[in-house]
């Protein structure tokens, strides 16, 4: 029997009891829609979270915090050379924090910022953007953070007068002038004996301001210098990074980097790079590792929700079983005639399995369409409801529900599988119909 003819038979049979078929398809559609909508929440939140992580500047970076070696005091130039030799490395950014916060004076404003020596060239190739200006090229040039100016205070300003009654910064207390091109006085202290200190003032020029950090909550108030400058401060104080420590004997001023960031040339290689570095005994961390954990967590959540959703489809399958059993009973005389003429049990089984599959496919299709509609409405409506109820704005691009094609495929497979299982028993029953009893209308 041709498949086309089987379809024709099924269509004719389905036409005979439209209402019953409609109710069965409806139940299947509801089950499928429940499955998809439920799981779409996990998919939506996962997408939003991943998107959020990927938007971070640090997404294709591996941060090195140290080395698993008891004799090592930190990352040295030798280690940096090793990192640079690795595949898929675009840039290696290194930085060393000053062990004191030098006093910065600029046109009557002062601040003691967190000061850090960075590799300006790597900063540029590593893709750290500047808002204004350029990167420093010599030891008498510096770059300041995006929020640096906010910390500059007039010498005579009482910190209590900086904020109004609402806790907002008073505009007038902020530094209003230009930063780029300004020469600032950087005063560094050192201990000359156990108790006494002396100071040295370096004159440096601000040549750049870093771009605004990707996230609102991030603050960049640092002062970025070159390693040459770091070295001259170390030599002046006789301690690494200008540490306020006195020792008669000269100290070892070997360069150790506090933070090393390796930038990969693309996101796919970050995890492999992290693994390679960790295998070599370094303490490396990347957001990609975090992504792996997020992915695993959401995979479990998705599987759980799909499982719960599948229960709804299984409940709907009871309807299919019932419909198909009734169909077999009603059509027993016709089945008997077909068998008497020469229809094989296989053909009879195929017709009934096809019918239950069509019910399943129709249900899954309607359920999927309804799910897309619900998902669309939820993504539009829920933020509005939450904003109205809690006066809290959801982050931009927040997606509560998302239906990828894989979820639709999973729903179809589950639905088809469940309908085939529920239709198989009635189909088998149809093949067992006794021809003579059916012809005598005894069934």
């Amino acid at each position: 029997m041709l498949f086309k003819d089987q379809l024709y038979f099924v269509r004719e049979n389905m036409k005979k009891n439209k209402m019953r078929i409609f109710m069965t398809v409806l139940a299947t559609a509801m089950g499928t829609a429940f499955l998809i909508v439920l799981a779409s929440v996990a998919f939506g939140l996962h997408d939003t979270l991943i998107k959020d992580v990927l938007e971070q500047e640090t997404v294709n970076q591996v941060q090195i915090y140290g080395k698993d070696d008891p004799n090592s005091q930190g990352i040295t130039d030798e280690d940096i050379d090793y990192f640079k030799s690795l595949e898929n490395v675009r840039a290696v950014r290194k930085q060393s924090f000053f062990r004191q916060s030098p006093l910065v004076s600029l046109n009557g404003y002062e601040v003691s910022p967190r000061t850090v020596a960075v590799d300006m060239a790597a900063l540029e190739t590593g893709g750290t953007p500047l808002k204004d200006g350029r990167y420093a090229t010599s030891s008498d040039e510096v770059v300041v953070g995006y929020h640096f100016y906010e910390q500059l205070l007039k010498d005579d300003t009482d910190p209590e007068d900086m904020y109004d009654e609402n806790g907002e910064r008073i505009e007038e207390t902020l530094y209003q002038g230009e930063l780029i091109g300004e020469t600032i006085d950087l005063t560094v202290s050192r201990l000359i004996n156990e108790t006494d200190t002396e100071e040295k003032t370096y004159q440096v020029t601000v040549v750049g301001v870093t771009a605004e950090p990707a996230n609102e909550w991030q603050q960049d108030q640092r002062l970025y210098t070159t390693f040459d400058f770091y070295q001259s401060v170390s030599e002046y104080t006789g301690t690494p990074g200008g540490e306020m420590y006195f020792q008669e004997e000269p100290m070892d001023l070997t360069f150790y980097y506090d933070e090393v960031t390796i930038q990969s040339n693309n996101l796919e290689n970050v995890q492999a790079l992290t693994d390679t570095i960790n295998d070599q005994g370094y303490y490396g961390y990347s957001v990609a590792s975090e992504l792996k954990q997020i992915n695993m967590l959401f995979t479990i959540a998705k599987a759980g929700l799909i499982f719960i959703g599948a229960i709804a489809v299984i409940i709907a399958s009871i309807g299919i079983f019932n419909t198909m059993t009734m169909a077999v009973t009603e059509r027993a005389p016709d089945i008997g005639i077909m068998k008497a003429i020469g229809a094989s049990p296989k053909t009879i089984k195929q017709i009934f399995l096809l019918e239950s599959s069509i019910i399943g496919i129709m249900g899954a299709t309607i359920g999927t369409l309804v799910s897309y509609l619900i998902s669309f409405l939820v993504n539009i409506g829920l933020p509005l409801i939450l904003e109205a109820a809690f006066e809290d704005q959801l982050p931009e691009g927040f997606q509560f529900s998302s239906i990828p094609w894989t979820l639709v495929l999973i729903a179809y497979v589950i639905c088809l599988l469940v309908t085939l299982i529920s239709g198989s028993r009635p189909a088998k029953k149809a093949t067992k119909i006794d021809v003579l009893s059916a012809l005598r209308r005894e069934l």
Binding site: L2, D5, G336, I337, G342, S344, L439
Partner: protein, 229 residues
Amino acid sequence: MIEVKQLSHQFELGKKDKKTVIPVLQDVSFSVTKGEIVTLVGRSGSGKSTLLHLIGGFLPRQSGNIVINTTDVSDFTEAQFAEFRLGTIGFIFQNFQFIQSMTAYQNVELPLILQGVSETARKIQALDTLEKVGLKGFEHHYPSELSGGQQQRVSVARALVLNPLIILADEPTGSLDSETEEDLLHLIKELNESLDITFLIITHDDEVAKIGHRSLMMHDGALIDQEVK
């Protein structure tokens, strides 16, 4: 064409503890040659319908052998028999046995569909067969819209459409009046002569028995007489 050897059959009635065994066929042997019309006559309960159902594969064989067109069908499974039946045997039933929701044309087309014949070819074959039995113009009538005689002609057309070697008929005139009975018998005779189809017909009607080349008489499950005309 049909060879039945020492065929016996019994029915078991009642439940486990109180089973009653009723023998319906006892050591029946006979053969039908190609192009013959053989009638099986006998009173109700003589076992003639059981014999026809065993030859048609509607009942599982218990003992004895059945050979149809040199094929031993004795140990065929249900599926094997279905496939064999479709290409070799046509059936005519006393009460027609139509799918009521299908038209005369669709009922005749059914065996062709089951055999996987293409739509174009089966349209030609089904219409041709309906014309052969004198039902041209009645294609789109539902069985309930046809007279008894016309319905039995549709039944003959359905049995005939796949050009079977044998047609088994179970009381084909049982639901017809004498005039339409005569028409049908005439049609059977004509098909036998023109298409060389073998007929095995069950009847208790003397008029029907007359059209056979041979008549087999059954009594209490045994073949008691063979009359050759």
